[in-house]
């Protein structure tokens, strides 16, 4: 019933495409080797966090360039609860979401109450992420700059409750997460707050003249976005089994996770997912090509990557998905 509501109004072609892609993703581990599986997990991870970021930017119009802070807070929270309290990460996740949402609320409150917007808001988010990075570097009970480690698991058994297991287990978990995020965002967009977010994104003052409490709506967007991102942080921590502030909170992480949605198409539902596929696919393909051709200089891959980014943003300013959707005939009035 909820699914029916979610699917209402979609052109038939889109549904067929969706079904095909979903089937392919479910079947993927059988057709993949270890390497490909890791790549797919990375893609789904970026698809998921990209979608979470998209809630703030694409839906509510707030540009966050420090989103890695929520990944880090989520990861550290769940990891600490697991290591120090022995509680499973699904319980730790509740704390992770709460902490990240609170952090987002603080940033949002400071920004929206004091009318910090646009570029200034973006810089504010960078400052907070950097603050966290340096702060966690000095937090000795969470490992400091030397890193925080989770006890490495025995991969023979899959323990979903404690998030210890094979890459295949993590793959399916990420797939479920990504699909859940997709459905959640779709439902949000069709709800009252979804419409309000889009109005705020288009013209905040006009939105207020229609009775919309823009402060409250923006705060909700930030909290949801932060909370969703924190869940990814939990998986990040338990998949890699270690957390280093220099890596987790670094501005490159923040930039990395927004490339997908921007390339794919901000504000669209498929954009972040398509973007993640394109970027990770491109990255890995180039890695392999360069290694094969012997031109594997450190930095070469990044240069080509940068050039591709440049090309996409110059030629397809709204992102790849809107362009692609009209080409393959699945486009409809996109919210």
């Amino acid at each position: 019933m909820m699914l029916q509501r979610a699917l209402a109004g979609a052109p038939p072609r889109a549904l067929v495409l969706l079904a095909l892609v979903l089937s392919a993703l479910v079947a993927a581990p059988w057709a993949s080797n270890d390497y490909l599986l890791t790549v797919l997990i990375t893609i789904l991870y970026f698809a998921y966090v990209g979608q979470a970021w998209n809630v703030m930017m694409g839906f509510a119009g707030q540009l966050s360039l420090g989103h890695a802070i929520y990944v880090g807070l989520g990861g550290y929270a769940a990891a600490a609860i697991y290591v120090y309290l022995g509680l499973a990460p699904w319980i730790g996740m509740i704390a992770a979401i709460a902490i990240a949402a609170l952090c987002g609320a603080v940033i949002g409150f400071l920004a929206f109450r004091f009318r910090v917007a646009g570029v200034y808001f973006a810089i504010l988010t960078i400052a907070f992420a950097e603050f966290a990075r340096i702060g966690f570097d000095h937090l000795q009970w969470l490992g400091g700059s030397a890193g925080f480690f989770l006890p490495v698991a025995n991969y023979a058994r899959n323990d979903v409750w404690n998030l210890r297991g094979s890459p295949t287990m993590f793959y399916y978990l990420m797939l479920v997460l990504t699909v859940a995020a997709f459905v959640l965002c779709h439902l949000l967009l069709k709800s009252r707050i979804g419409y309000y977010w889009q109005a705020i994104r288009e013209d905040e003052e006009a939105a207020r003249s229609l009775g919309i409490d823009t402060f409250r709506c923006k705060m909700i967007a930030v909290a949801i976005s932060a909370g969703m991102t924190a869940v990814a942080g939990v998986f990040f921590a338990f998949y890699y089994n270690n957390l280093f502030p220099e890596q987790v909170f670094h501005i490159s992480r923040s930039i990395e996770l927004i490339l997908g949605p921007i390339i794919g198409g901000i504000g669209t539902l498929f954009g972040p997912i398509l973007g993640a596929f394109l970027l990770t696919g491109l990255s890995e393909t180039m890695q392999n090509l360069l290694a094969a051709s012997g031109l594997d200089l450190p930095g070469a891959k990044q240069v080509i990557y940068g050039v591709c980014l440049l090309a996409v943003v110059v030629m397809l300013p709204d992102g790849v998905w809107p362009w692609l959707a009209t080409r393959i005939g699945v486009s409809r009035k996109q919210p």
Partner: protein, 241 residues
């Protein structure tokens, strides 16, 4: 019957400029009230103060018996005042239908109900056929009617229209006048409008307020006001009489 909108002694200064100077007037329930005057007379500032976008320096505003001066725009809207903007501001990337749905969501929290209400308004404002079109692709007259529909979707008791006829050809002006007159007559909607197009003012308004340099220089039924010497001198010109 007490007035729906009661403006008392509103004043607003922007650094050196006294934009609104001790303006007082009352708008009767169900009537159409026009504010006219030369450019820079303070009309839009007055509107912005009533709508909550700017706070007045002094004075008070009563709406339906309760004070609203100093309230933020979203709360003013929830009390029952809708507005349009001098430079039209529909949500450009949203469709015509979605624009109005946003307004309708104030009182209809479910999408289906909001859409139904939106469709009803779109039909009234002659935009139903274009409901799927993206707002930024509409012509100016259509965008103006869209903004009116959107404001109406919030079920206001009072509608503030800021130069809604500007840029319209005479035929379109007549159409808009007809729509507004019907709205007022059929739903009891009170309308306060800023206008330069005197043909519309004469056709619609029961009472007219004339502002000049932020101050009221005349108020009354349109036929009387347009004859007053101060009004003729400052705004209309002798040919108008």
């Amino acid at each position: 019957m007490s007035a729906l909108l009661d403006v008392r002694g509103i004043g607003k200064r922007f650094r050196g400029l006294l934009a609104v100077d001790n303006v007082s007037f009352a708008v009767a329930r169900g009537s159409i009230f026009a504010v006219i005057g030369p450019n820079g007379a303070g009309k839009t500032t007055l509107f912005n103060i009533i709508a909550g976008a700017i706070a007045p320096d002094r004075g008070s505003i009563f709406f339906d018996g309760a004070p609203i001066d100093g309230l933020p725009p979203d709360q003013v809207c929830r009390r029952g005042i809708g507005r349009t903007f001098q430079l039209v501001r529909p949500f450009p990337a949203l469709s015509v239908e979605d624009n109005v749905i946003v307004g309708a969501m104030l009182h209809h929290h479910e999408l289906a109900a909001a859409r139904a209400h939106a469709h009803q308004l779109l039909r009234q404002l002659d935009l139903f056929d274009r409901r799927g079109q993206i707002a930024s692709t509409l012509t100016l007259p259509d965008r103006k009617r869209l903004e009116v529909a959107r404001a109406l979707a919030t079920r206001p008791k009072l509608l503030l229209l800021d130069e809604v006829m500007a840029g319209l050809r005479p035929v379109e002006t007549d159409r808009m006048v007809l729509i507004l007159r019907n709205l007022s007559r059929e739903t009891g909607l009170t309308i306060l409008l800023i206008e330069h197009v005197m043909q519309a003012v004469m056709a619609l308004a029961a009472r007219v307020l004339v502002l000049h340099h932020g101050a009221v220089i005349a108020e009354g039924p349109p036929a009387a006001v347009v004859r007053e010497p101060t009004v003729v001198h400052s705004y209309l010109g002798a040919e108008a009489v």
